[in-house]
């Protein structure tokens, strides 16, 4: 078991970026030692939780073992030993699946810097391999939804079908242009602009934070591809035909523009017309 101090240093170091001096091998070694300690210490606890943790029956894959080490270094303080959750700090991750890890860690929302209404998007702390390892660990711990392989998940998406699904399921929170919107009491639906195919897919599968879950039973993988195609090709990578889009905030910025640009320009003109020459 690592000390509290150790853990914090590990997390901070990751937030700051990778310290160059620490070689991969040494880190592995340290992780292994800590893993061993954690396993020994956690052993007692398992007897109580055993029924809910089926993953113990089969040995973990090596990726999951690595993921567990990473977890114990950076996530355990909030999500608890074996991702059982810590009351008031972080929920249990048993059964959330690798989709959830991929979304939360891949978009930098986890690890959180501090407790607040909602974790904001930021540059990810872990690299893709590490995210995969963490995901594998969580997956093997309790199962759950997984994002299919591949980077481009919207190859054969149908834009029109995706648009219809987007408007009925997504636009009420993420807005017509995918720019996001406010929810109650400081929560918000984030902008979809920086989201990758995999992150959108993972978000639909896992329902992060206050987003409802759109499982494969409700929106099929083909429909998900349609939605992602609509978001990426119509909203994110499509030039607006009518000039600068004013942030796609709807009529509020249009109203601002008519005063700040239109009225201001014309009032200056009136000043010039009526000015003494």
């Amino acid at each position: 078991m690592t000390s509290d101090n150790d853990r914090r240093r590990g997390l901070l170091a990751r937030l700051r970026g990778r310290p160059a001096s620490r070689s991969r091998g040494r880190r592995r070694l340290g992780a292994a030692v800590r893993l061993l300690a954690a396993l020994m210490l956690a052993g007692g606890a398992y007897t109580a939780f055993a029924p809910s943790v089926q993953a113990q029956d089969t040995p973990m894959s090596s990726a999951a073992t690595d993921g567990k080490a990473l977890f114990n270094e950076s996530c355990v303080s909030c999500h608890g030993r074996n991702a059982q959750g810590v009351e008031g700090r972080g929920p249990s991750l048993v059964g959330v699946g690798s989709a959830s890890v991929e979304f939360q860690v891949g978009s930098g929302r986890m690890p959180m810097v501090r407790q607040e209404a909602q974790a904001p998007r930021k540059p990810p702390v872990f690299n893709d391999d590490e995210i995969r390892q963490l995901g594998q660990y969580i997956q093997e711990l309790g199962g759950g939804p997984e994002v299919p392989a591949g980077e481009d998940l919207h190859k054969d998406g149908n834009l029109a079908a995706g648009g219809e699904l987007f408007r009925i399921n997504c636009s009420q929170c993420h807005a017509f242009g995918g720019g996001g919107g406010a929810l109650s009491s400081g929560k918000y639906a984030p902008t979809l602009k920086p989201a990758t195919d995999r992150q959108i897919y993972a978000a639909m599968l896992s329902g992060p934070q206050n987003m409802p879950v759109f499982g494969d039973n409700q929106i099929t993988p083909e429909q998900k591809a349609d939605i992602i195609a609509y978001i990426q090709e119509t909203l994110n990578h499509n030039q607006d035909p009518g000039g600068f889009n004013l942030g796609r905030y709807g009529p509020s910025t249009e109203g601002l523009a008519i005063f700040l640009v239109g009225i201001v320009a014309l009032v200056f003109t009136t000043l010039w017309i009526a000015g003494k020459s």
Binding site: L159, E164, I168, N169, Q172, C173, G181, L183, S184, S185, K187, A189, G207, Q209, N210, M211, P212, V213, F214, G215, N217, Q218, E233, T234, H237, N238, Q239, D240, P241, G242, G243, W272, I273, S277
Partner: protein, 361 residues
């Protein structure tokens, strides 16, 4: 003619227009005087033929030429620029901006050209016009007043009261005739077929219950919605997924165990004992405030937010409004699962769907 400060002398007599010594400006000034306008200051801004005049003329001319160039560019772009819309990035996205900019520049060119012409090249002047309105012509008032009274006398409405009364009696229905087709044509009974109190979920004739369907018409099984998920559902009838049944859509929510427990208890408190099925609850998607689709479901806090006026409803407490201007719960749709395993509506909503109105209760 430089600055002129004419006294009043001669101002009142009309000038002799045939006087050969009279300049055109003299005639203009004399004409202005006839309208009680005194041109008190008239001063050319530029000396004719001066360098300043040539410079300003060049400025104005270049504005006009800019207009010509820009308008030509507009036409060329309008005709030859590839404008057919295609998704993605491309030249067609610049079509509208280019048209706007060239049109704008050409119009601004004329505008500022004309403005410079008027402002810099024409003589400055100060004229004073009398308003005359302070002077009330009492004589005219009396004459007009008397004329009108005379007309009334001649008509003799006072002497012949029958005429006045019968005219009014005749005209009043004529006015009503003008209004009648408009009102009669437009008016529409709001409670025809009890339409304000029923939705597409009302059991069909013969008592057959209506299924809940998705936007593509497929019925829904409980397994289709994950815990923490929601789906917009429609009545599974003809045209159920259309604006014809604008009041019908509901949000079917699969609550988590703990939340569902709370929601069921709340249901029991208000007598909606069997409105939920398992952990599933369905609430009208149409806000009771102004009718927007209240559909921003927060699966952790179980709040439902309406994006139009920010009313917030607590799903675990029978969609009770907890914030914002809405004053009424979202109506709950009683649901169960039929023998084939699909959701159906036990009955129609038990409360009125949509915005409040006077005779709603």
């Amino acid at each position: 003619m430089t600055t002129t400060h004419p006294g009043n002398a001669g101002g009142d007599q009309p000038v002799d227009l045939d006087d050969p010594d009279l300049s055109r400006f003299d005639i203009v000034r004399a004409g202005a005087r006839e309208d009680d306008i005194e041109i008190v200051h008239y001063e050319p801004q530029v000396v004719p033929g001066s360098k300043a005049e040539r410079r300003l003329s060049r400025t104005v001319a270049s504005f006009f030429l800019l207009t010509g160039a820009s308008a030509t560019a507009f036409l060329a772009i309008y005709i030859w620029w590839p404008w057919e819309y295609e998704l993605g990035h491309g030249g067609d996205k610049w079509y509208t901006p280019l048209l706007g900019v060239t049109l704008g520049i050409s119009l601004l060119g004329i505008g500022f050209g004309v403005l410079t012409w008027g402002k810099k090249l024409l003589p400055k002047e100060v004229s004073v016009q009398d308003r005359h309105e302070g002077v009330v012509n009492e004589r005219d008032r009396t004459i007009t007043g008397q004329t009108m009274l005379y007309m009334a006398d001649e008509l003799g409405v006072k002497r012949r009261p029958l005429l006045g009364v019968s005219l009014l009696a005749g005209l009043a229905p004529v006015g009503a005739v003008a209004a009648a087709p408009l009102v009669g044509g437009l008016i529409s009974q709001p409670h025809k077929n009890n339409q304000m109190f029923t939705t597409g979920f009302a059991p069909m004739e013969g008592g057959q219950k209506v299924r809940l369907v998705r936007e593509d018409g497929r019925p829904i099984r409980p397994a289709d919605i994950s815990a923490g998920g929601q789906i917009t559902v429609f009545p599974g009838i003809d045209h159920g997924v259309s604006n014809k049944y604008a009041d019908s859509p509901a949000l079917l929510i699969h609550l988590r165990d703990a939340d569902a427990l709370e929601a069921r208890e709340a249901n029991v408190r208000i007598g909606h004992d069997d409105f939920m099925w398992g952990n599933f609850a369905a609430y009208s998607k149409i806000c009771t405030h102004a009718g927007c689709p209240a559909s921003l479901y927060e699966q952790q806090t179980n709040r439902l937010l309406c994006p139009c006026h920010q009313s917030q409803f607590l799903i675990t407490d029978n969609a009770k409004p907890i914030f914002g201007p809405a004053s009424r719960r979202l109506p709950q749709l009683p649901i169960f699962v039929d023998d084939e395993g699909y959701f159906v509506a036990t009955s129609d909503y038990t409360e009125t769907v949509g915005p409040d109105f006077w005779e709603r209760p």
